[in-house]
């Protein structure tokens, strides 16, 4: 993913789709959608599975502090 320096010194990320926006007007991250669409349904289910397990691990770690 390319980075461009802005006049104020901040960096703006540009997607690998060239000039395509990274977010929609209503704030949805389009890069994540494009990534999910690039993988198979089985892999998407695996991503969900791992996300849920990861979130539950974080919750459990937080509860055991």
């Amino acid at each position: 993913m390319a980075q461009h320096k802005l006049p104020n010194g901040d960096r703006e990320e540009e997607s690998s789709h060239g000039s395509e926006p990274t977010h929609s007007e209503d704030g949805v991250d389009l890069t994540l959608i494009r990534w999910m669409l690039s993988i198979t349904p089985a892999e998407r289910l695996q991503v969900l599975q791992q996300s849920v397990e990861s979130l539950l691990s974080l919750r459990d770690a937080s509860a055991n502090r």
Binding site: D26, I33, M36, L37, R44, S51, E53, L56
Partner: protein
């Protein structure tokens, strides 16, 4: 109630092995279509034909499904529950499973069937999933705040899919 690790694939495989007719809706459906979101329960609309309810009961037995509503623990969903238009919120040994008799404006399995696609999940499992357009329509119909909140993401997924 113990907290089993959610395993969507294991639940789907069990339903498939028992030849249960069902349509995946809700968050897992959205993810299968490419929505980057997390959900903790698997929601399906099942056919309420008698033969299917018999197969579904056998699958639920294997899954160790019980009601997850507080105070109803250990209650197994009976035939009248499964045959109803209502929602059965269950906990299985592979995590939460919601069995929905109808969704949106009272649409059942047969009515939803024409708005579904089959998806191959790995080499051995093919499942029937609500189309993304139908999922959006259902969430618009229910009008609940949590459903409305998901709409921007689902609409953007639909747009991005149409480009590819």
């Amino acid at each position: 109630m113990p907290a089993p690790t959610a395993n969507y694939l294991a639940i789907l495989k069990t339903l498939h092995q028992h030849d249960v007719k069902f349509i995946i809706v809700g968050g897992v459906c959205a993810v299968l279509h490419g929505a980057p979101m997390a959900t903790f329960d698997l929601e399906v609309v099942h056919s309420r034909e008698p033969d299917n309810l018999t197969r579904l009961s056998a699958a639920l037995e294997e899954l160790g499904a019980v009601d997850r509503v507080p105070g109803h623990h250990e209650m197994k969903p009976g035939p009248s529950h499964l045959a109803s238009e209502g929602h059965q919120l269950l906990m299985t040994r592979f995590g939460p499973l919601d069995l929905l008799g109808t969704i949106g404006k009272g649409r059942d399995y047969n009515q939803l069937l024409q708005e579904t696609v089959e998806m191959q999940i790995g080499p051995e499992l093919k499942v029937r999933v609500s189309t993304l357009g139908s999922l959006i329509k259902t969430k618009e119909e229910t009008g609940e705040e949590k459903d409305r909140a998901a709409l921007p993401l689902l609409r953007r997924v639909l747009e991005e899919k149409s480009k590819s």
